[in-house]
Amino acid sequence: MQPETRLTADMFRPVTDNFKDAETIGRPSISYWADVWRRLRMNKLAMVGLVVIILLVLMAIIGPMISGYTYYKQDFTSKNLQPSAEHWFGTDSSGRDMFTRIWFGARISLFIGVAAAFIDFVLGVIYGGISGLKGGRVDNIMMRIAEVLYGIPYLLMVILLMVVMGPGLLTIIIAMTITGWIPMARLVRGQVLQLKEQEYVHAATALGADTKWILMKHIIPNTMGPILVNVTLTVPTAIFAEATLSFLGLGIPAPRASWGTMANDALVSLLIGNVYQLFIPGFFISLTMFAFNVLGDGMRDALDPRMRK
C-alpha cells in the first residue's frame, strides 16, 4: 500500500507570477531588410556574384587610369600584340591598349546596363502602379497598350531608331528601354493589384490616408523586393542586348568602346589568329552576366518569405 500523500498549501505557488512576463519577446528585433541580408549572406554563389560586381565597378573606375595608356591612342608600330607585361591584355588591330579599352568599355557597358535598369524601373513602377491602383477599365486599356507595344518586333524597332537618331549612347539606352519597361510594369501591376486589397491598406484608408500616402507608405515598400530582383536581372540583359547590337554594328561609334564593339572589332583579326581579342571582351560579358544573374537569383531566394527560417 502506498502511503497517502497529503496536499498542503506550501506545496503550491500562485500561477499568476508566470503571467507577468507573458507579453515579453525574447528574440532580438530584426528588421525585414536585415533578415533578407542575413539570408543573402548565407548564399555563397550570390556573394561571389556581389564581390565580382564590386570588383568590376572598381576596375571600371580606376582601370583606364592605371595602365598608362589611353583608350583612343593608336600606335601602329605595336598592333595585334599578344598579352604581355607591356600590354596586359595585348593590343588590338589599331594598336590600342586592350586593358585600358576593356575597362573603359566596362564603364560604357555597366552604365548602359544600370541606366536601362533604372529607366525601366521608373517607367515600370509609374505605369504599372497607376494601372494596378486604378484597376477596372483604366487598367484594361493601359495593359492592352503595353501589350501592343510589346508585340512590335524588337530588332526592327531598334534599327529604325538607329536610322532616325544615328548611333550613340543615348540611342542605345532608348533602344533598351523602349519596350524594356513593359515586363517591369506588368510585375508592378500584379503586385499592386494584390497589395491594394490587403487589410492593412484598408486600415490605412479607414484612418484617412489618401492614395499617395498608401502608395508611398504601404504599396511601394512591399513591392520593393520583387522589383529589386527584376532590376538586378535587367542589368545583365541590357548589357547583353547592347553587346548584341554593337556586334551587329549598331553600337557605340569609335573611338569609344563597349565590350560589344570590341568583340565586333576583333572579328577582323580573328582571321589572322588573334583569338584573345575576341576572348577577352567575351569573357567579361559572360562574367558580368553570371555575376548579376547569381546575385539576382540569390536575392529572389532571400526575399521569398517561404524561405524564412
Binding site: 503571467f19 507573458a22 507579453e23 515579453t24 519577446i25 528574440r27 528585433s29 530584426i30 528588421s31 525585414y32 490587403q198 487589410e199 492593412y200 484598408h202 486600415a203 490605412a204 484608408t205 479607414a206 484612418l207 484617412g208 490616408a209 489618401d210 500616402w213 507608405k217 504601404h218 515598400p221 512591399n222
Partner: protein
C-alpha cells in the same frame, strides 16, 4: 491575463440617441460573371454606446456591409448618416474628419498589419495622418496606447511577425483607438484567434467600451459570442437583414425561420438537454448572391415557404417594440387570419 469571460455588461437604457443611421444601403460588385449583390437594401440604426451584433453565414455580406458603412467601398445606393453627416456624400476633407470618429478592427491579424513597419510606425501612422502629436509626445502616446491594450511600451520598435495572433489583434485595436474614435466596426475580430485568446480580446473590447464610451458594430458568426457582447443583434441572410432585436429577446423568441434554424444550431453545454434538442437542418446551400431568389431571399431553404414568398419582397416591419423582422408569416396583409402569433 484573465481567460474567462466576465459577466455581460448591464444592458443600457432604452432611450438613447442615434449615432449612426443606415438607410437602404446597397453594395453591388460588377464582375465579369455578372453583378454580385453583396448588400441589398439594409436599413438600421446604431445607438450611442451600444454594441450591435451582426450574424450570418459566411458570404452573406456582413463584412461588405461593415466596410461600406465606413466608405472603404463606395455604396451603390442608399446612405449612411453618422451624427447626421452623410458619409458617402462627404468631401475629401469632411471624410477625413469623419474617419477620426469611425474606425475598424479587422478579421485577420496577420494581414491587417504592414509587415515592413514597426509597431510604433503602425500606430504612429494614425497619429501622423491626423497630426495629433509629434516628437516625444507622439512616442508617449504610442506607448500609452500599447499599455492600454495590455502590451509593453518597449514593443514600439518590434515588427508584426514577432507577435502572436492575439497580440497582433491588440495592436490593431491600439491603432484604431489612436484617433480616439466614437464608433468601431469590429469585423470578426476574434474568428482567427485561439479560443483562449478570444476571451482575452473580447474582455479588452468591452473594457475599452466602458472606459472610452465606444459604440461597436460587431460582426461575427459565433452566435454565443455575439449574444454575450451585443445589446442588439441583427441576422443577415444573402445581403439582407432578416431580423433585428435586442439580443435577449432574439435568442429567446426568434421570429424569422432563418433565425430559428441558426439558433437551433448552437450546442447546449448540458448532455441531457443536448440529447433531446431538436435541430432545424436547412436544406441545400446558400444561393449565389449573383442571382438571388425572387421575393424573399430565404424562400428556397425555408420550411414555411409559400406561394407569395416567390412574388413579394417581405416588408421590414416592427412586429413588437424594438423587434424587427422581414417575413410574410408576420404580415397580416398577406397571411390574413393565419398570421403567426407573437409571444
Amino acid at each position: 491575463m484573465k481567460l474567462t469571460l466576465r459577466e455581460a455588461p448591464a444592458k443600457k437604457d432604452k432611450k438613447q440617441d442615434t449615432l449612426l443611421q443606415v438607410r437602404n444601403l446597397k453594395k453591388y460588385f460588377h464582375t465579369s460573371g455578372g453583378t454580385v449583390k453583396a448588400v441589398s437594401d439594409v436599413t438600421f440604426d446604431i445607438k450611442v454606446g451600444e454594441t450591435l451584433g451582426i450574424v450570418g453565414e459566411s458570404g452573406c455580406g456582413k463584412s461588405t456591409m461593415g466596410r461600406t458603412i465606413l466608405r472603404l467601398y463606395d455604396a451603390t445606393e442608399g446612405e449612411v448618416l453618422f451624427e447626421d453627416k452623410n458619409v458617402h456624400k462627404a468631401s475629401t476633407r469632411e471624410l477625413k474628419k469623419l474617419r477620426r470618429d469611425m474606425q475598424m478592427i479587422f478579421q485577420d491579424p496577420y494581414a491587417s498589419l504592414n509587415p515592413r513597419m514597426t509597431i510604433g510606425e503602425i500606430i504612429g501612422e494614425a497619429i501622423d495622418l491626423h497630426k495629433l502629436a509629434s516628437g516625444a509626445k507622439r512616442k508617449a502616446r504610442i506607448q500609452e496606447l500599447l499599455t492600454l491594450v495590455g502590451l509593453k511600451p518597449e514593443h514600439i520598435n518590434r515588427f508584426p511577425h514577432e507577435f502572436s495572433g492575439g497580440q497582433r489583434q491588440r495592436i490593431g485595436i491600439a491603432r484604431a483607438l489612436a484617433v480616439e474614435p466614437k464608433f468601431i466596426v469590429c469585423d470578426e475580430p476574434i474568428s482567427a484567434l485561439d479560443v483562449s485568446i478570444q476571451a482575452q480580446v473580447i474582455n479588452l473590447l468591452s473594457d475599452l467600451q466602458d472606459k472610452m464610451e465606444l459604440t461597436y458594430l460587431f460582426i461575427a458568426h459565433d452566435l454565443s459570442m455575439v449574444k454575450h457582447i451585443s445589446d442588439r443583434v441583427a441576422v443577415m441572410y444573402l445581403g439582407k437583414i432578416a431580423e433585428l432585436s435586442e439580443s435577449e429577446e432574439l435568442y429567446a423568441n426568434p421570429l424569422h425561420p432563418y433565425t430559428e434554424a441558426l439558433l437551433s444550431a448552437i450546442p447546449i453545454p448540458d448532455p441531457e438537454v443536448e440529447r433531446k434538442r431538436q435541430r432545424i437542418v436547412l436544406k441545400g446551400d446558400v444561393p449565389s448572391p449573383m442571382n438571388p431568389p425572387s421575393g424573399c431571399h430565404f424562400r428556397t431553404r425555408c420550411p414555411y415557404a409559400m406561394e407569395s414568398c416567390t412574388k413579394i419582397d417581405p416588408v421590414w416591419q416592427e412586429v413588437k417594440p424594438d423587434h424587427f423582422v422581414a417575413c410574410h408569416l408576420y404580415n397580416k396583409d398577406i397571411m390574413g387570419a393565419d398570421v403567426r402569433k407573437i409571444r
